[in-house]
Amino acid sequence: MDSQIILFISQIFNGLKIGSVYSLVALGYTMVYGIIRLINFAHGDFIMVGSYALMLIIPLMIAMGLPAWTAIIPAILLCVAVGIIVEKAAYKPVREKGNSMTALITAIAMSLLLENGAQAVFGADYQTVPTIFHLPSLSLGTLNISGDTVLTIVLGIVIMVGLQLFVKYTKHGKAMRAVSEDKEASVLMGINVNSTITLTFAIGAGLAAVAALMYCAAYPQVSPMMGAMLGLKAFVAAVLGGIGSIPGAMIGGISIGIIESLSKAYIDTLTGGIITSAFSDAIVFAILIIVLLVKPTGIMGKNVGEKV
């Protein structure tokens, strides 16, 4: 195969990999927004919490003779606990008393609290996460795709399909959809709105832990601020896909991953060096702006007129 094509295909795979991570994080933003109309700015920091958890737990698991990846289970539990605590301790009281602006500022505060809390405990420096997977890479002729990449993409797809089925067909999933649309009617159906909101936070935080695993497998280092940019891009993905829409978060995440990967690889040569690959983040945001100008509700966003 032509080496240019090889490069292009491997860049697409890179994009799919990081895009899967963005998608999983974007799902957390979009589900929480869907159910309580809150942008949970602390959501990106759940990835940081999950990553530190992995860093600490992996050596323990290895010491117990278990594979490194089993650390994901306690990491998920920890993230879910953090997610539930943030919701119960910070968001619920504000939701019941304040307005949506108060809630938004509380979310920013929770984000700062998690970031600075981590910095106080672990310091500001980058620390290394032990290797999580030892997978053979997939070779197709001269095309080499790392095992991590394949696993990340497959895991991403499985989780997204699973989540979609959960929301569509299970009792709790239907309750989540009902609450996201009409809390009053949901209560009258017998749905416990508060526990449904808690469940949504728990799922979002659990997905953030899985995203942390996938991210740390690819870029094995953690820092207190790692969730900020990752969270921001995943938020962009959620908005690009249409915030509140689960398929939208998936499409948005994958799109952002591929755009980022391709722009890093090609923008330099395409623009004759005027725009360098250092601008790849700027390109991601520029595309967000363009899409929102054309379709303000995002790719999958529905603009449902309210019937009175």
Binding site: R177, E181, A185, V187, L188, M189, G190, N192, V308
Partner: protein, 234 residues
Amino acid sequence: MLKIDNLNVSYGAIDAVKGISLTVNDGEIVSLIGANGAGKTTTLHTITGLVPAKSGSITFDGHDLLNTPSNKIVTLGMAHIPEGRHVFTRMSVQENLEMGAYSLKDQSGLQKDLDRVFGLFPRLKERRHQLAGTLSGGEQQMLAMGRALMSHPTMILMDEPSMGLSPLMVKEIFSIITRLHDQGITVLLVEQNAKMALSIADRAYVLETGRITMQGDADDLLHDEKVRKAYLGA
């Protein structure tokens, strides 16, 4: 069956319901009529706990509703069809009906219950896979009623079922209310369309700015001079 005693409800400094007492007996249709802002919807919302009461008591089949979590009230056999239908617009007609059965522990009778609702509302059967948001106002009202029936209620609170519907559709909705009543369901009906409401009710209460000003047999009220002047436009 339902007994409200000296109920007071306020929104901040505004008293919406001022010491009302009413009863609904097993098997009755009772109408609550009155102008906009009289406190009719607030009363219904307080019964199902959507709005907290300031004082007073509400009991339903011996259960103290003011101390029952809102989402548990449906499990006692009370369904509430809110004003403006509140169907789940982004779910299909069938999914909406399934949500109505959410509170039932035993889901094995779901298909039978669906068939019963589709029997009452054939139009919903035709549209079972359509999103509820694409239905007409009358169809949405039917869906809201069908959804309420899915929870096996012994009593239904209905808030303005005729709102925004064509005269023909209003007639249809009211004939269905009568049919539900014939099947043994007790109904507390809130309506601005006083004539229709009084014509199907056994008894009625007239609510004015948060107080009950008249009550009695629906027939008597229908022929009462004051009621005719104020609510029947005659």
